[in-house]
Amino acid sequence: MSKKSIYFNVLMKRKLETLKEYLYLLKQNKLTFAALIIILFLIIIAIIAPIIAPFPSHIYGSVNPQDKLLPPSQVYLFGTDEMGRDIFSRVLYGTRISLLASLTSVVMGLLIGVPLGLMAGFYSGFIDEIIMRIADMFLSFPPLLLAMAIAAFLGPSLQNAVIALIISWWPWYTRLVRGQVVSIKEREFVRAAHAIGTPSWQIMFKHILPNCISPVIVQASLDLGGIILTLAALSFLGLGAQAPIPEWGLIINTSRTYFLKAWWYGIFPGMAIFITVLCFNLLGDGLREVLDPKTKKY
């Protein structure tokens, strides 16, 4: 066997062992496992929503005024809204919006925040000061407030809400990553890489980044839930998705007007938010238990 294939074999064996370990830990935490399954289920729902929704035309298209504000029944599982639209179908479609918006926000936030954090921690000095001062300015707003202000001033819409969320979230990752980098930077292997002449960006991305990625992964999965909550809050205030987009928070907002007449209107979208966010939180927690105490192998 050539040298390269022996290396590959050993590498694959190692990776398999680590995977086995993760699965073992994951299986131990049944709640996390269940949450993961539910999330996958939700993703599938989001993808096939147009197929499984009983009244797909209700989302953006026709309106059914004679069936307005009907309580839940066999036909309309969650009842209908003031325009006669099937709430169940709208909630199903809302899954797409929430999951997609949340994923976009988190991914963009990571793409902006993580490299900035790496640079701030690695180069320190002036670059560090500038990046962290800017990040601190953004972080000094209470959560949600900055997103509210940005969304208000950009003009209420779903896209602007997502932009507002990205702008509000990236500093958290920067701060998280920078803290990690600062402590990893002093470790021997970084000095060694430097001494051999590895270019800085390679040190940052190939050596330092993999070592500080775990808390970022945990935070990102928790944020997937948190952003869904914040987006719903923005829409609830009127700053996010606008009618007729079936965003969960917006539906709840609209339901307020008909609160006395149609109790079912706002209940189900809220339940959807709750379950989704709960699962992401459980997943994030489970990931934290799996990824963090690797050192505490005692």
């Binding site: 000094s140 209470p142 202000a149 719903a232 609830f236 928070g249 709840i252 706002g266 209940i267 505490k296």
Partner: protein, 336 residues
């Protein structure tokens, strides 16, 4: 100690400046024309131009910024487009109600959340630990505004136990003179010994307080639990056990003292979230605070009002963080 405080204070001021800068940029980003907004929809171009000049919008950017800062320092936050009253007056009127709600909710939340997190960490994997973890993770997953509607549904519409909103019922407002000493209804009624008002106030407070506090309880319980678990796994706890110290002493003396930092951080963060939750909850319960004000302002796109609340809330949060930092610096490990 003093140099630390001054350094931290100057950093805080710098941060506030940054906040003002950001909010100024936001205002300039507004797609609509503030001058046209100000004079209303049916104004003539001359009126709009006159308004623009009056509002100083024709001057170069740095002049505008300078004027903006000067106005802020004078306490001038502009005029609310909704009410045409000075924003600062609107805020002054409504801030006490929000402060009261946030404060009371937070106290209750901390009184519940901290012990919950503590017991959870102490008796890890016991039934109370599982219950508390489940409860706290649920509490931070629930959308606050939805919880508000659900509670209103259950307790007002179905059970008829609690009022649907407001701070005090009409009966009280019309037939009793509500004392106005500190501006805080709870304190005022306590001071004057008017328990009827106090009772009425508390009845109105429960539901909003639960909504504001729910997330807080969950957050505080979780952060306390994880901080304490980490401390309890440290070597010095193991050593203390080997010296024969009781679990009680170890927990309340050793572990707790070490958890000052994370706990204060948790509480500060929780209060920030609580403040934000009031924005969502006040309009549902018609609580007369700045939350309702900003919720209305957002709908009408009353930019000066939005600005004013943003600056106020941000400054309050920065102040809170400053106090938290000073408390944390009391930890002997922290190098000043």
């Amino acid at each position: 100690m003093l140099p630390f405080i001054t350094r931290r204070l100057s950093l805080g001021i710098l941060t506030i400046f940054g906040v003002i800068l950001i909010t100024f940029i936001l205002v300039r980003v507004v797609p609509s024309d503030p001058a046209a907004q100000w004079v209303g929809g049916r104004a003539t171009p001359q009126q709009v131009a006159a308004a623009r000049e009056e509002l100083g919008l024709d001057k170069p950017i740095y002049v505008q910024f300078e004027r903006y800062i000067r106005d802020l320092l004078k306490g001038n936050l502009g005029y609310s487009l909704m009410t045409h009253q000075p924003v600062i007056e609107e805020l002054k009127k409504r801030f006490p109600a929000t402060l009261e709600l946030v404060f009371i909710s937070c106290i209750i939340a901390i009184l519940i959340g901290l012990p919950l997190g503590l017991i959870s960490a102490k008796d890890k994997n016991s039934w109370i630990d599982h219950f508390s973890r489940f409860f706290s993770i649920g509490a931070i997953s629930i959308p606050t505004f939805w919880l508000a509607l659900v509670l209103q549904l259950i307790f007002f519409m179905i059970l008829g136990l609690l009022p649907s909103g407001g701070q005090l019922s009409m009966k009280i407002k019309l037939f009793q003179s509500v004392p106005h000493i500190t501006g805080f209804v709870s304190l005022d009624s306590l001071i004057t010994g008017n328990f009827a008002i106090l009772k009425d106030f508390l009845k109105h407070l429960i539901l909003p307080a639960i909504c504001v506090g729910a997330y807080t309880i969950g957050l505080v319980a979780r952060m306390t639990r994880s901080a304490l678990l980490e401390i309890l796994s440290e070597d010095y706890i193991k050593a203390a056990r080997s010296y024969g110290l009781s679990e009680r002493l170890i927990l309340y003396s050793y572990a707790l003292k070490n958890s000052l930092g994370p706990t204060v951080t948790a509480v500060t963060l929780a209060m920030g979230y609580a403040l934000m939750n009031t924005f969502l909850v006040e309009s549902v319960f018609s609580w007369p605070g700045i939350g309702k004000y900003i919720a209305d302002a957002v709908v009408c796109l009353d930019y000066p009002a939005i600005m004013g609340v943003t600056i106020l809330a941000a400054c309050a949060y920065i102040l809170l963080n400053l106090i938290a930092d000073i408390i944390i610096s009391l930890d002997p490990r922290v190098k000043l």
